[in-house]
């Protein structure tokens, strides 16, 4: 049994702690499959995590026995499924410690959540010359919505720089919080570098000047405990499928006072109070922002994923992933031809690298032959690639179900890549 190390050793067999990775792995059916005749080593969880049996079963159960539409049915199935669906809103609120489930807007994904804020809060409260501060390590999802707003309203995008290790330059960030800045929209954890930013400090500095803050928690919510009240975040967004849940469901947390001031995003059923051809009135948040039939089955799946993570314990996951990250970093930095990007002291188990003299595509192809699933390219962060001075990287993004032995498989694949392509 491969129990989890407090301190990882180099053999892949370590044995202390309260986290049994082999048991965890048994919860994820896909991890027992092979790729190219080799055991699957799934290092692409930063793009989308695999799903535990609990999520798969919860979704199947709804589809087989409980499925109907929610919110407006007068019948038994609709009432019971509505209760379950709305129960997930409470689960989400608890998971990020929101003050109320009414602060939880269900979206399709992080991208939609950010677009929602840009299209409603942004259109209403931002105008010509107003600044939106982002960082140099944003995903395109937290760049392009603000550029659309820039094109429409004339707002200005201001970019807080990072240093060469991937740490956000807080002094430079603070300097951007001038009288024109009206919103900060910043990643809580970089999807490329793994850097975890000092989110509470970022919020405090902005709030000192009366500026609200949106945090993109797509990666952070997977690798750490998120308490939106402790952070004092005004908006917090994330997606379900990276958090071991299904695709097509995401979350926008917004402080009740802010959501109440925001106009609707999309129009349609479910979000209205009363409709006549002359005038339509809208429901209170969060429903005002949820037009049309919601992702019902996906919501049940996300609730099951959050219950699963909660049962394992985020503190246990954090400790285990930290050990994995330490081990992977040691092994990668011991290879003379590996250049690792992102060595911030506070970082999640995400490793971006290139192999000197070898195209990342070739490196990733050699990894693929060994059964190692990783991502290659710009990771939806083209401006960050320009900052790093590379066309792309290979990204190994780890999760709670990975092992040090799997990291060894990756290292062997990199050694073979050197033989094949070097």
């Amino acid at each position: 049994m491969n129990m989890i190390p407090q301190t990882p050793n180099l053999t892949g067999h370590s044995v202390e702690g309260s986290f049994d990775v082999e048991r965890i792995r048994q919860d994820f059916p896909i991890l027992s499959r092979q790729v190219h005749g080799k055991p699957l080593v799934y290092f692409d969880s930063g793009a989308s995590a695999q799903k535990p049996r609990a999520v798969i079963d919860a979704m199947s159960q709804v589809l087989e026995n409980e499925y109907t539409n929610v919110h407006r049915g007068a019948h038994y199935l609709s009432q019971t499924l509505t209760d379950r669906y709305e129960g997930v809103r409470e689960t989400i609120a608890r998971f990020i410690n929101a003050a109320s489930e009414e602060e939880i807007v269900i979206t399709r994904n992080t991208t939609e959540a950010i677009n929602l804020v840009a299209a409603t809060y942004g259109r209403k409260f931002l105008g010509q010359g107003d600044g939106v501060v982002v960082s140099a390590m944003e995903h395109h999802a937290n760049i392009v919505p603000w550029q659309l707003l820039r094109d429409e309203k004339g707002v200005k995008l201001k970019v807080a720089p990072i240093d060469d290790t991937g740490v956000l330059d807080l002094d430079a960030y603070e300097a951007l919080l001038d009288g024109n800045t009206k919103l900060v929209a910043i990643t809580h954890c970089s999807n490329v570098l793994g850097t975890i930013v000092p989110a509470a400090e970022i919020v405090r500095l902005a709030h000192d000047r009366g500026i609200p803050v949106l945090l993109d928690g797509s990666q952070a919510v997977v690798h750490g405990t998120v308490d939106v009240q402790a952070l004092d975040a005004d908006f917090y967004v994330f997606t379900g499928h990276k958090l071991y849940g299904p695709t097509a469901i995401g979350v926008l947390y917004g402080k009740a006072g802010l959501l109440a001031q925001m106009p609707p995003y999309q129009g349609g059923g479910d979000m209205i109070a009363k409709v006549t051809f002359e005038k339509t009135t809208y429901r209170e948040p969060p429903y005002r922002f949820e037009a049309g039939t919601p992702p019902i089955v996906e919501a049940i799946g996300l609730g099951a994923a959050m219950d699963y993570v909660t049962a394992i314990g985020m503190d246990n996951i954090i400790a285990y992933e930290k050990a994995l990250l330490t081990y992977a970093t040691e092994r990668l930095t011991a290879m003379p031809d590996i250049r690792l990007f992102g060595t911030a002291p506070e970082k999640a188990a995400i490793l971006s690298f290139v192999q000197q003299g070898i195209h990342p595509f070739d490196t990733a192809a050699a990894m693929d032959r060994a059964g190692v699933a990783a991502r290659v390219g710009q990771h939806c962060a083209e401006p960050l690639m320009a900052r790093l001075g590379v066309d792309g990287t290979v990204r190994a993004s780890l999760a709670m179900y990975n092992t040090t032995a799997e990291i060894d498989v990756m290292i062997e694949a990199l050694e073979r890549a050197r033989t094949l392509f070097g």
Partner: protein, 148 residues
């Protein structure tokens, strides 16, 4: 119209060679072709924006010329595997007329039996094929315009 068999000699050689190999050996075969491409002449000045094929994870450049009534292509990439793939595509389908090139389909690409070999290989190879078809048609239009 059927593409004359003698114009697909190189393609058929690739098909036969790959058919004899297991999956791992096919992977190494493509890498070998990619490495050999480096020894052939690809004009360095053509590794520019004008010859760059857009939409690839790695950079791919394709140069087009016309010889003996057919279209000739040479390919280059910054990734060795892609270099192998583009070399196979340009080698397989050089010498064809535009009309013949237009008859090359996904089935021909599948015929190379690269199966589960490399990431997004079929999509990438189809994009190369479409790019070559576009270059040949554009060249024909240019010739037609000159003769008018």
């Amino acid at each position: 119209m059927i593409i004359p068999a003698e114009k697909l000699t190189q393609y058929n050689e690739y098909v036969e060679a790959l058919d004899l190999l297991d999956e791992e050996s096919r992977f190494e075969y493509i890498i070998d072709i990619g490495k050999r491409t480096d020894k052939a002449t690809f004009p360095p000045e053509c590794m520019d924006q004008a010859h760059l094929m857009h939409g690839c994870m790695s950079k791919v450049w394709i140069v087009h010329t016309q010889e003996d009534g057919g279209h000739r292509f040479r390919g280059q990439s910054d990734a060795i595997i892609v270099k192998g793939l583009v070399s196979m595509m340009t080698g397989s389908f050089s010498g064809l007329t535009s009309a013949e090139l237009a008859k090359v389909t996904l089935d021909h690409v599948r015929g190379l039996n690269l199966g589960a070999l490399t990431m997004q290989r079929q999509v990438g190879m189809m994009a190369m094929l479409k790019h070559m078809q576009k270059l040949s048609q554009r060249a024909d239009l240019s010739v037609a315009a000159d003769s008018n």
